[in-house]
Subunit: 147 residues, 2 copies
Amino acid sequence: MKRLDEHQLAVWRAFVNAHAAVIERIEKDLSDQRKIPLTTYDVLVALYQSPDKKLRMTELAKHVVLTRSGLTRVVERLEREGFVKRERTEEDRRGAFAVLTREGKKAFLATWPTYADGIKNYFLSVLDEDERAAIERGLSKIYRSLI
Amino acid sequence: MKRLDEHQLAVWRAFVNAHAAVIERIEKDLSDQRKIPLTTYDVLVALYQSPDKKLRMTELAKHVVLTRSGLTRVVERLEREGFVKRERTEEDRRGAFAVLTREGKKAFLATWPTYADGIKNYFLSVLDEDERAAIERGLSKIYRSLI
DNA sequence: AAGAAATATTTGCTTAGTCAAATAAATGGG
DNA sequence: CCCATTTATTTGACTAAGCAAATATTTCTT
């Protein structure tokens, strides 16, 4: 591909604008309904989906869009709110697990419906089947090419 | 649409992950090459594309993903760096224009090649023509449905 | 087995950006 | 024409998150 023309740029703009708009809307719904925000949610899902409902900080950081130190802060907050706890282990005493608590699971389960509605209403329902397929295919390729 | 199945969720995940990955990559390239970051860039393009290379703060805020107060801070920074200046006007003395300076134009023009390369390499080039078309169509619809 | 190198996580400091209140000027209604 | 309301922007106080340095522990290397 040589140079960017207006057409190609339009694809990029659509991507960036749609993302900002959808995320903003979903965040607003979550906050209006006193649910946990998205970054927090991502941490809790990652824990929920892990076999023992716990993950090493480094592992956890890979699941979310955060640096390791950013994750430390988030987990700190979550610990204060009682949604996770840190668990030291004898195997490797440098680090810690973040463990999902019962409260954390509850918060996470309570949040999902709002989040899911957002995904449906602001994103999926606007797309027809072809678009969904193409988006999934294209954007997955992009993601894989970058990790 | 009733309930979210795995398939549909995969579309959403692809969208979110691709966005985070591509933006992160582009920001990194910009920073490595000592170019201005994306939010800053967005402000400068908006000004550059406006008829007189200047916009009221409120107008400008609509072009970028920032609240009005967020914009105040960014323009403050940009003013410190000499890329824009604030210009009061007699017509309406409540507010001010942000005006692109010669330096600002230079910074913006110098940044574009890096940005454009990122868009090409990390995003467009990975997609085939169908995917590009579908993404443009679908995501534009989404964006329009939300403004 | 001792020191060097690597790994896991946290901390201190700083920047970016938000919200709600403050300020300032313009406008509309009686 | 004056006051109440609205509009434009900034400010103060705060939260989120990043980077680089610090800390703690493990794993190599010889």
